[in-house]
Symmetry: C2
Subunit: 352 residues, 2 copies
């Protein structure tokens, strides 16, 4: 059945029903991976069905972010299922809340839909969002559905800072990096870009590696717990890697009025990436986007405590330097500066 | 200069600059109309430029809503300027917060843009949002920009309930209408739909009336103050008119488990509508959408106090009845039931 056959109001009712009836038994296989659910019931006062959603706050500091996926710009049905697209649409927003050290809470979902889309696909899209929402204790409380020529999917996500007694700050800011801080990263770099290469080139690759890279691209796991731990342990500065390490690190440096040195041989590159793309692995790690790993700058003792407290690997890749121009230098294994200065994805540029 | 010539990051910087530098002297003519600005400075902790926006709450109950305008579905450049489109994109969201009796606070704006759009048009779009944001004390604190084949504009808006000592409820809900309540409406009905008819048919109409109707369609004024007053005076139930009076009233009745009688001869139809479309005025008032007026159900004394406290006209158009099936009956001037049961705009239906 097509979207045009059921109409907006029936479609909203179907989606509301999908949300009400979703339960952990429906979670897609991946949703049970390490990280686990954050067990809490959001304090929803008004959900789908009134003029706005409403909730009771649990913290005096609220956060909000929004990210959009557009068909054939940010995702392709040639590579991804609707459920995977749903996962990613919420996960990338969770990653932003994670990068502030916040706890994600409530999501509003806007769908732009052509009338000839299958209703079942819309439901699968929501199931994908619910896979990740359930896992991280987020409630989908509202949204909008509109007719559009191409599918787009906008998630607006709120979160809140977790007040810590004696903490100097409630949030991890891009501007908080200080010369002498270590630069550390969760997980691996370049896996998502490698996954996209696998998907888009149809490259024949050993099964286990290909599946892992595909997963890294289509189902990034937002580092919510890790962000909370960084802040709890005294970290002041973090951001998530969406546009690629170099481009994102340059933003942190610019915001902090500091520079950075990073060492190529300390980049955490997954063995699958190194095996599948040996010639490009470093470039993928430095400039490939969409890893949604957490980059943070903190004193060595903070980094050590974070590493001890989280399950994902935490790698020190360099340090923050005194450089008010915000320069990012990439050093090779001999300490020589590599003149590598690439920028992340820019949606509108003709030059690409 | 085109969007594709400046790139995403420069465009974001231009928009951030437009927001920073906007001041009341830039307000478009209409923005100074009756209603006035709500004077307060939002407690923004983090604005554009970090992973998320952050703010200090002033109330324990937060609200959030989102609405999207898609080019050639919800607006047409044949009829509207970019500044008008910007106004409407935020105003329709403010209207939802108003319908809960809340105070609007922070907006996240997502733009889907083709690369060949003019940068100046994007800036004008934001100016239109700022016209209305400034007037109602809303801060634009973040958003997203993405490449898309058609322009779309999604606003996610937060607000908060204003706690009232001794109040039974913090919010105006659709489900709060009670048999015996009067049904009242702010302003006029059908003006927006009449404005769309003027715009889309290029109909030659006497200048003053045409301009007023055009304005009603392109620059609806959200009833924020009126929503706050309804709640302050003890109202429990309201919603805004976006899909047309009959369709929206039917939703209120369904949510409240009650029915409604409305009297055709009590519908507040603006003289311009009656003059320009005499044969269709009643139909426009009953079923034309996008008036963004506030429909509320409350005891007669509450309605009287609201009417005395606000500047816009408040009309009693009928009453809430005992009817658990949620039926809406339209009565003519002789008290006879008119079999008029039309539904509002449904974005996906083929039949339209």
């Amino acid at each position: 059945m097509k979207v045009a056959d059921v109409g907006e109001f029936r479609l909203i009712e179907l989606v509301a029903q999908t949300i009400r009836e979703f339960n952990p038994a429906d979670l897609s296989a991946h949703a049970g991976a390490p990280g686990g659910a954050v067990p809490f019931l959001p304090a929803v006062l008004v959900g789908i069905g009134d003029d706005t959603a409403a909730w009771q706050v649990e913290s005096p500091v609220q956060l909000a972010t929004t990210d959009t996926l557009v068909q054939d710009v940010h995702f392709s049905l040639a590579f991804a299922t609707w459920r995977e697209i749903g996962w990613k649409s919420l996960a990338v927003n969770l990653s932003d809340i994670a990068a502030m050290g916040g706890l994600p809470r409530y999501a509003l979902v806007t769908l732009g839909l052509p009338g000839d889309l299958e209703v079942d696909d819309v439901v699968d899209l929501y199931r994908g969002m619910l896979d990740v929402a359930w896992r991280f204790g987020v409630a989908v409380v509202g949204g909008d559905m509109v007719r559009a020529r191409e599918v787009f999917l906008t998630v607006a996500l709120t979160g809140e800072a977790v007040p810590l007694p004696g903490s100097r700050t409630d949030l991890l800011l891009r501007s908080g990096a200080k010369p002498g801080d270590q630069l550390a990263i969760t997980g691996f770099l370049g896996s998502s870009a490698a996954g996209l290469k696998v998907l888009s080139t149809g490259r024949r690759i050993e099964a286990e590696g290909a599946a892992g890279l595909r997963e890294a691209h289509l189902r990034p796991v937002p580092r919510v717990r890790e962000g909370l731990v960084v802040r709890r342990e005294g970290g002041l500065s973090a951001m998530d890697i969406s546009d690629g390490l170099l481009a994102d690190l340059a933003k942190m440096c610019a915001a902090s009025g500091a520079g950075a040195n990073i060492a190529v041989d300390r980049l955490p590159i997954h063995p699958f990436v190194a095996a599948c793309f040996p010639a490009e692995a470093e470039t993928l790690a430095l400039s490939g986007g969409e890893d949604y790993e957490l980059l943070f700058a903190a004193p060595a003792d903070v980094v050590a405590r974070v590493r001890a407290a989280v399950e994902v690997p935490v790698s020190v890749i360099g340090e923050v330097t005194e450089d008010k121009t915000g320069g990012v230098r990439v050093l090779d294994r001999h300490g020589q500066v590599v003149q590598q200065r690439q920028h992340g994805w820019d949606h509108f540029r003709r030059e690409r």
